[in-house]
């Protein structure tokens, strides 16, 4: 090791300094991370529900039930739908906006500062905001559509099965496009200017320059942005909760809302434990693989 750890006649505290430093933090993380996980696993093999409190083990029954629970797989499907629509939209819009603000522009800093605002809004507040925007009678969106249509419209954005997805996606894209924008703007600003000039001299067109030089240069940042947003979308709860609470019926139920309803409203304790365990294992594997691919650390 380095000279930092090579002190002669060190006391116990000195010798174990590095472990003393990580000790408290790791203790808290284990207490809140590992201990409940073990307990979760235990409960998932029992048969506890609202009416059944006996803690007898029932083997893999809860896990077998997972495969037959269409509502669970639908919730997973809804989550995937939100992710595969919102993520590319946010990425492309963010990239276009970053491109617009890349060159000098009067008032650029103020524009960027204002555009970042949605990112820091609490997601439950942004969900609430959009429920006002989409209100069928007093909201501005129906009124604007009415102006364009030249007749009054009463679109039920948070109730009608055809409109709930666009409504939730609008709120989601509004809040997180600025996140993509911010990261991609930083990445684009770091692209090697001399390479761009060389490409221009060679007569390469915009698309060619973009795919051959710009995209490879910003890819590491883009990958991180996609990873962070992808994992955030997988846990989507607040915005949907504020707008539709998973409805109409179970149409917009995400995996987080499903878990909430099973565990905290229907009190199917052991079954929820199995669901939560499944989600934790799935996501841990995804995260670990992703961290290997993406250069998040140095």
């Amino acid at each position: 090791m380095t000279s930092l750890s090579a002190t002669s006649r060190a006391s116990f505290g000195e010798r174990n300094f590095k472990y003393l430093l990580i000790g408290p933090a790791i203790f808290v993380l284990l207490l809140i991370g590992i201990f409940p996980l073990v307990y979760l696993l235990l409960v998932s093999f029992q048969g506890i529900t609202m009416t059944e409190t006996s803690a007898d083990f029932i083997g893999f029954a809860n896990y077998a039930q997972l495969f037959e629970d269409t509502r669970l797989w639908e919730a997973l499907l809804h989550t995937v739908i939100f992710t595969v629509i919102a993520l590319p939209l946010e990425l492309l819009l963010g990239l276009a906006m970053a491109q617009l603000f890349l060159e000098k522009l009067p008032g650029r800093q103020i524009f960027v500062a204002l555009l970042v605002l949605p990112v820091v809004v609490s997601p439950i507040v942004s969900g609430a905001t959009w429920s006002l925007m989409f209100n069928h009678r007093f909201g501005p969106i129906n009124q604007i559509i009415g102006w364009i249509w030249r007749e009054e419209v009463t679109l039920l954005w948070t109730i009608s099965p055809h409109l709930v997805y666009p409504a939730i996606l609008a709120a989601e894209v509004w809040q997180w496009t600025p996140f993509m924008f911010l990261l991609l703007l930083a990445a684009l600003a770091n692209v090697d200017k001399s390479q761009l000039e060389a490409a221009a001299i060679d007569g390469a067109g915009w698309w060619r320059t973009f795919f051959k030089i710009v995209l490879p240069a910003i890819w590491p940042v883009m990958a991180i942005a996609i990873l962070i947003r992808g994992l955030d979308l997988f846990r989507l709860f607040d915005i949907v909760w504020a707008l539709t609470k998973g409805g109409p019926g179970t149409m917009t139920e995400t995996i987080s809302i499903f878990t909430y309803i099973k565990g905290f409203q229907q009190f199917e304790t052991s079954y929820t434990a199995a669901v939560a365990f499944l989600v934790i294992i799935l996501l841990s594997v995804v995260v670990m693989l992703a961290l290997k691919k993406v250069e998040l650390s140095r």
């Binding site: 380095t2 409940p36 060159e103 609430a128 905001t129 996140f179 962070i228 909760w241 929820t272 650390s297």
Partner: protein, 276 residues
């Protein structure tokens, strides 16, 4: 024919118009929130909707602070503040160990950051069962512990990056001069990392301030936070918009200061330290 200069001016004008249009589009929902919070009930529920308040009117804010709901603002502040202080201290010393001694190697660092990426609902369910057993639901200890644990991975990860940016030579010469390791930490590392400490603490505070799900599930009455209180007013049929918007603005206003203070560190903060 246009000269090069004219063409350039036209191009800038078009870009400026596009920039203005996009900014208006993204700020409009926030404007709408502000505007409704200053309206009277008659104005809020008038059809067709009014696009600006008749006159600025603070009754919605007065209601928010009268009926005992102000306590939720205070709760949010206490929970976010306390958990930030604890997580910053525990997280920074842990980050120092990871950065300088490579304690646990890449695996430990990756495990820590992966703790932040798992969906909270799955993690919070067993914690809820545990808290019910311990009687910690809706208690100070329970809420602070959960928020501290929730913020720790972020603090450790960010501070590890900031400490790696500090040249090592200073710490070594302080050791040679006879400082103990603790003194090195307090007198050399913390002062050198203060920009990072400040930015990380603010972000940590914001995450806790904005957090909904944990507080929604683990508080009932005494420790209900502002986001939970606001969430509970949203119903499909009768939402008190004046109350909701005033509360939303109280939740949002401090964040305006944050964006202003953190302009330079914003990208690094939201990208988990990957982009500077």
């Amino acid at each position: 024919m246009m000269t090069v200069r004219q063409r350039h001016a036209l191009r800038t004008a078009v870009r400026l118009a596009a920039a203005a249009a996009i900014t208006v589009l993204f700020l409009f929902p926030i404007y709408w929130l502000f505007m409704i919070s200053f309206k009277t009930p008659e104005e809020i529920y008038s059809f067709p909707p009014k696009w600006y308040p008749g006159r600025i009117h603070f009754d919605n804010y007065a209601v928010l602070f009268k009926d005992g709901d102000a306590i939720t603002v205070w709760n949010s502040f206490v929970v976010a503040g306390m958990s930030t202080v604890i997580a910053m201290f525990l997280g920074t010393i842990c980050a120092y160990s990871l950065a300088r001694y490579r304690t646990g190697g890449e695996h430990l660092a990756n495990w820590i950051i992966s703790q932040r990426m798992i969906p909270p609902i799955a993690v919070v369910f067993p914690i809820f069962l545990l808290y019910v057993y311990l009687g910690w639901v809706d208690t100070f200890t329970g809420v602070i512990l959960l928020y501290t644990a929730f913020n720790l991975p972020y603090v450790i990860w960010m501070m590890r990056g900031y400490i790696l940016d500090i040249p090592r030579a200073l710490e070594e010469s302080a050791l040679v001069d006879g400082c103990t390791r603790w003194q090195v930490l307090w007198k050399v590392v913390f002062p050198m990392a203060r920009a990072g400490l400040f930015a990380t603490a603010i972000f940590t505070f914001v995450f806790a301030w904005n957090e909904f799900l944990f507080a929604f599930l683990l508080t009932k009455e005494k420790w209900v936070t502002l986001p939970v209180r606001l969430g509970s007013t949203i119903t499909p049929f009768q939402t008190d918009w004046g109350f909701l918007t005033a509360g939303a603005i109280v939740s949002f206003a401090p964040l305006l200061v944050v964006v202003f203070l953190l302009q330079r560190e914003m990208v690094r903060g939201v990208s988990l330290g990957a982009v500077r």
